[in-house]
């Protein structure tokens, strides 16, 4: 383990340097996303105002606001570029340059991305959590921050990121077949976003659909951590969702390995 850290740490370092090169880009990106958040916020505010009821499908207005901003935070932090990075290297053939190094691709990509992520971590995390908690304080008049839920949320978030990363790497390997991932990546992001509960909470779905979606890996990406954060899950539900998250993580790591082994055998490097 220590050896792995030593070998792959420079990738994280390089990732930080890379992210620093494109920080302006990143800030615009985040600003765009935050605007989307506020659109969502006003939309739900209108729903609560017109309904007149205190709660909507078990969510109070405060819960909903927390859900919107924390799901945004979660999907930003658990976001993975894996499919794009892997797909692009396969498309232009530079994957060959990784194969001539005594390293594992998944780990090299992972550690590099972690480095690139540190920026979004520091830029988005503190202001958003502080903002949500302040809002809750002013809306309810009391301070309701739960340290336990927050720690559980962090664990769940890390699992969510790892699942998302390996899922995206698996997906990126489809470039071996499709050769170009531009279009399909876009479609994937939309579908995954919906299934992960980024658009509307999965609890709002019809019960049968909701049950299925809860079991699918996508719920583990955003919905599970957010529900833990806003305190909607009972301890039993939390335990179950951790088990599910670990299951999906192992599943995607194994799948990634299988696909990789199969692809390498029939690899044709594009160009030169």
């Amino acid at each position: 383990m220590r050896k792995i850290l030593k070998i792959y740490k420079p990738f994280t370092h390089a990732g930080v340097l890379l992210a620093a090169q494109y920080r302006i880009n990143f800030i615009f990106f985040i600003l765009g996303d935050i605007l989307m958040c506020f659109i969502n916020y006003f939309l739900w505010k209108a729903v609560f105002n017109s309904g007149g009821a205190e709660t909507f499908m078990g969510f109070s207005e405060v819960d909903m606001v927390s859900y919107i901003f924390i799901s945004f935070l979660t999907s930003t932090l658990a976001y993975s570029d894996g499919s794009y990075a892997v797909g692009e290297e396969i498309r232009d053939g530079s994957i060959a340059m990784r194969m001539i190094k005594p390293i594992r691709f998944d780990l090299a990509f992972l550690f590099q991305e972690l480095g690139e992520r540190t920026m979004s971590l520091t830029l988005a995390f503190v202001p958003l959590v502080a903002g949500v908690e302040l809002f809750k304080f002013f809306a309810t008049g009391s301070f309701r921050f739960s340290i336990i839920n927050f720690v559980l949320y962090l664990v769940s978030l890390i699992l969510a990121y790892l699942i998302n990363f390996y899922f995206n790497v698996c997906y990126g390997y489809s470039a071996f077949v499709l050769k170009n991932l531009w279009g399909s990546n876009f479609l994937k992001d939309c579908i995954v976003g919906f299934l992960a509960g980024r658009t509307i909470p999965l609890a709002f779905m019809p019960p049968a659909v909701g049950a299925v979606l809860n079991f699918l890996p996508f719920a583990s990406l955003t919905y599970t951590p957010v529900m833990i954060y806003i305190g909607m899950y009972s301890p039993a539900q939390i335990a179950l969702s951790f088990a599910l998250q670990i299951f999906w993580l192992v599943f995607f790591i194994a799948l990634q390995q299988i696909i990789w082994n199969a692809c390498v055998k029939r690899l044709s490097v594009q160009g030169g």
């Binding site: 420079p10 990738f11 340059m97 390293i103 044709s268 490097v269």
Partner: protein, 337 residues
């Protein structure tokens, strides 16, 4: 050191009819065709040798290199390097080799060059003392100092290639693969790179496999050449052997006082030659006769020419390696291998 046995690689290729209709058709019902990029190639390279791997574009050179470096898995046949099979024990195998693909880079595009070396140092587990010594040596042969702090994307092609070669040598590999290392470089940089490769080969007994289109590389560096075309091996031997075997063609050039008198020269009848054995070219400034010194001794052709014409100037030259290889690529030289 390096054993290659009946190595073969086939690719499946989708054939598409031209135009939009063709695209739509191939989307639903792709037609495929098997292409043999490398066909039963065998050779052996002893430790410390520099092997030149040459052939025209699309001959399969890069495919062979990719199989030897563990990137591609051969369809059939085998290769063994340092007692390892590249595509089977990839991770432990690549620790002992260095690879440079002239058309790609292993450097981190957006980072200062030095960062790439830091990452490589950890990947190959080079300790601090060895790293320092190594960098000093590479600096000396490749002169990296002037641009080591610049981002890689700002380097010129020549600097980038030097940096890439240094990156492939950081861990003192036993085998170095250079795929077109001098592509697109000016003569001075080419010369520097050749000197560096030579120095590393001599100092460390590094085995080098080099593909190139620049025959100066071959003449200056290689102990031996393997020539391939259309996936098959055409020639395997050293340069003097190549010259001896295919290099009997000579060129006689002379400037006569009277160009009309050249008409009277009839080499073919005089020496009883076939249509392809001799080539005569008269461009009004000089006369060039290409012939094979096996069929016509140089003395005879000179005597005959001088007896028929008065010349201002005359000389006979050896065909250079470039001419020979051009001949082989165009299949003008009959191969009796």
């Amino acid at each position: 050191m390096i054993y290659v046995n009946n190595l073969k690689k086939e690719f499946k290729k989708t054939i598409k009819d031209p135009g939009l209709k063709g695209s739509v058709k191939s989307f639903f019902k792709p037609k495929t065709e098997i292409i043999t990029a490398v066909d039963n190639i065998s050779f052996h390279v002893p430790r410390g040798e520099i092997l030149g791997f040459i052939g025209p574009n699309g001959a399969g050179k890069s495919t062979v290199i990719k199989m030897l470096t563990g990137i591609l898995t051969p369809t059939s046949g085998s290769c063994e390097i340092n007692g390892k099979i590249p595509y089977k024990n990839r991770k432990s195998y690549v620790k002992e080799i260095g690879v440079v693909f002239g058309q790609r880079t292993q450097l981190w595009w957006d980072l200062a060059l030095r960062e790439t070396y830091t990452v490589l140092k950890e990947i190959y587990e080079v300790d601090d003392a060895a790293y320092k010594k190594r960098m000093a040596f590479l600096n000396e042969v490749l002169e990296l100092d002037e641009f080591i702090t610049s981002p890689v994307r700002t380097l010129s092609l020549g600097q980038r290639m030097r940096a890439d070669i240094a990156a492939s040598l950081l861990h003192s590999p036993k085998v170095l693969f250079l795929d077109e290392p001098t592509i697109g470089l000016d003569v001075v940089v080419k010369d520097n790179i050749r000197k560096a490769v030579k120095a590393i080969n001599e100092n460390e007994q590094t085995t080098v496999i080099l593909t190139t289109h620049d025959l100066q590389d071959v003449e200056n560096l290689c102990d031996r050449i393997v020539m391939i075309d259309k996936g098959s091996k055409l020639f395997d031997g050293n340069i003097s052997e190549l010259k001896r075997r295919f290099g009997q063609s000579r060129e006689l050039r002379f400037v006569p006082y009277d160009f009309a008198a050249v008409e009277a020269l009839d080499y073919k009848t005089e020496f009883g030659l076939g249509e392809d054995d001799l080539e005569l070219e008269n461009d009004g400034h000089k006369v060039t006769v290409r012939f094979n010194s096996d069929t016509i001794p140089v003395e005879n052709i000179l005597n005959y020419t001088l007896s028929k014409t008065h010349v201002k100037d005359i000389n006979v030259t050896d065909a250079d390696i470039e001419e020979i290889i051009k001949g082989i690529y165009r299949s003008e030289v009959k191969l009796d291998a």
